[in-house]
Amino acid sequence: MAIAQIRQYLLLCLVLLFAITGCGQKKSTRTTNGKIEIEVAVFQGGYGLDFFEKAAREYEKLHPNIRIRVWGNPRIWEQLRTRFVAGDVPDLCWPGWGMDTWALVYDGKVMEMDKYLNQKAYDQDIKWKDTFLPDLLEKGKYKGHYYILPFNNNVFGWWYNVGLFKKHGWKPPKTYEELLKLCEQIKKTGIAPITYQGKYPAYMIRGFLIPWAISAGGLQAFEDAQKLKPGAWKSAAFLKAARMIAELRDKGYFQKGAMGMDHTGAQMEFLLGRAAMIPCGTWLRSEMQKQIPPGFRMAYFNPPVLANGKGDPSITQSSAETWIVPKDAKHPEIGADFFRFMTSLKMAKKFVQEKQTLMSIKGSDQTQLPPDLILPARYLRNAKATWDAEFSDWYKAMNKEIEAAVAALLSGEISPEECCERMERAAEETRNDPSIPKH
């Protein structure tokens, strides 16, 4: 074979190579027919995409020069992660629960929102930032600036089976002492008093450990732990909470085998009436929509607290699902403006009604609420303070270790004292690691 032929052949190989690698090149055109095209990437969970698509069409009517492309899927963070690395990002996104959004903030990949938040709200005569529930907006702050914005608002507490409770004349317990008495009665009927989503200990941390630590030691006891104050995770408050969990465990008030169930499995046990109570957030109905037996009724209540506890009994847990405007977005101002539109009071109320969830916008609950949300909304309105397990987003390694400790406590492997020791050790490790940014 002649040299020229070889050269030709190699050239062909090279061309093929470029063809392969060229597939990943991003499109340079961002406009269609002179319109500015905006990309909005949405986590497609229980709420679907339709609301955001409708909002986009409405927004386009108001801004004829803009075209908004909404797309999403249930594991959107997997796509977004590589796109963030490459710097080719959407103009607005809801990255979903699988994304380490704080890592994006630390690496400077999230737009600082202060100047946008100081704009006027979409349909009210106040600043945009004053339309949010302050507790939820403040969670997205880092080093004095706003980055992560709240959208829908999840209230987390306990749910009880209304039909079952009515039949036996039981009342949802307000105090831990009442809970113990009630559990004894429920247990006698052969039904498990409480079940939990054992595979995911976050439910037990948010449903048992922290509410009881706050009840025993006040909100500060939890905030100290969250801020990694030395000794806070093994303080008297957390020890008391761990002991309460151990007491319920030892008295057999938790459903047998709950540790081996995932979230939908445990929730199914609750829906089938095999367990009377379960900790969960306000997404419970939309998550289990297809499996809820006809005629089944459930209702929310705050976790029962100690009768003489230090923490205010009205304290309620509320957290938000969050959106960000990427720093490298082509049109961050439009992305931010579209989010301002979606968080207007009108749109927020619409979201509450259509998607059966509360929103992070003040006054958005002043509408015809779906039955399951009436009580959570009332608890939230009457709450003297709210809290959220923010450490689980800030300090992922510590969170995992705390989950492991609580799981070990629930399965009876360790004592409450050992559980607290283990949690404190995890906090200490994070505290002493300079590579982990602190809040």
Binding site: G198, K199, G257, M261, K400, A407, A408, S411, E413
Partner: protein
């Protein structure tokens, strides 16, 4: 070089080049990159990497008890699988190689789990172990052993064994078929000769079958090592490493470090270590099983 020989060399080079180039781009390069990334602290969400040298490896070996726990779980996985799978596979392969009626059907049944996706197998067995409506608990109750019923995958003592059992159920068929192919290729005249010499079935198995499938047995063992030290999907779907790390394996831990805790550099270092471990164990196993190859 004579022209004909030169032509042959060019032809070989030309036919090898595309494969080699693609292999380099898609295998060698990413692997080299992995070794490189392991030297950094990297969150994996941007191009910001901090060079930390061998810090990730130091932390892995000296400051991370979970890593050792994971390694123990993987070795337990390997040990139990080895003790159960290899003898069982040999037994069934030997049984199926004889001309018993319906051998083909049995072969199909044994191989069947292997063609289902791992995720489906994991989901299926999660239901078998389910605390309230699982078949296992129902079976125990039917046998009057109701007191043994428990939430298997949530029980620290049993969770790992339950996952291992599923893995064995899943992979046994593959080893049977592998060994069966080896046994089938042994000329029947050897068995006839040993029978004429008065060998019992056990003796012909021990002195004819085993030596002649030894090379394939070696492959099976090395494959088992790779499979059990690399186990991920099954564990992740069934338990996600829980309850409290009792089923955490090297790769579930790697995945958690990378994709949950955003420690890509650390996870990559772990990946490199797992690579070395698998290579080492496979080499040792190969050395231990070395014996003179019997030609036939």
């Amino acid at each position: 070089m004579p022209p004909i020989k030169r032509d042959r060399v060019t032809a070989i080079v030309i036919f090898l080049a595309p494969g080699l180039v693609l292999y380099c781009i898609f295998f060698i390069l990413p692997m080299a990159q992995a070794f490189y990334v392991a030297l950094f602290r990297w969150r994996g969400v941007s191009m910001d990497k901090v060079f930390v040298g061998f810090e990730n490896f130091r932390k892995l070996f000296t400051g991370d008890p979970i890593f050792w726990q994971c390694l123990c779980h993987n070795l337990e996985f390997l040990g139990v699988s080895f003790v159960v799978v290899i003898p069982l596979a040999l037994f069934f392969a030997n049984a199926l190689s004889s001309r018993i009626r319906g051998a083909g059907i049995y072969r199909g049944i044994f191989l069947f789990p292997n063609v289902i996706s791992v995720v489906a197998v994991a989901a299926l067995w999660s239901f078998v172990y389910h605390p309230t409506f699982g078949i296992l608990n129902s079976l125990l109750k039917a046998l009057g052993l109701g007191h043994l019923a428990t939430g298997w995958l949530g029980e620290p003592r049993y969770a790992l064994l339950c996952v291992i059992a599923t893995s064995i159920w899943y992979s046994l068929g593959f080893y049977i078929v592998l060994l069966l192919a080896g046994i089938r290729s042994i000329p029947t005249s050897y068995y006839e000769a040993s029978a004429l010499d008065g060998a019992t079935p056990w003796q012909s198995f021990r002195y004819v079958t085993i030596p002649l499938v030894w090379e394939i047995l070696k492959i099976a063992v090395i494959y088992l090592i790779i499979h059990t030290l690399n186990i991920f999907g099954l564990v992740w779907v069934m338990t996600e490493g829980g309850p409290s790390y009792h089923t955490e394996t090297l790769l579930t831990y790697l995945y958690r470090q990378a994709f949950v805790q955003s420690n890509f550099g650390y996870a990559t270092a772990l990946g490199v270590v797992v690579f070395v471990i698998i290579l080492g164990v496979s080499l040792v196993a190969g050395r231990l099983m070395r014996r003179e190859v019997v030609e036939y």
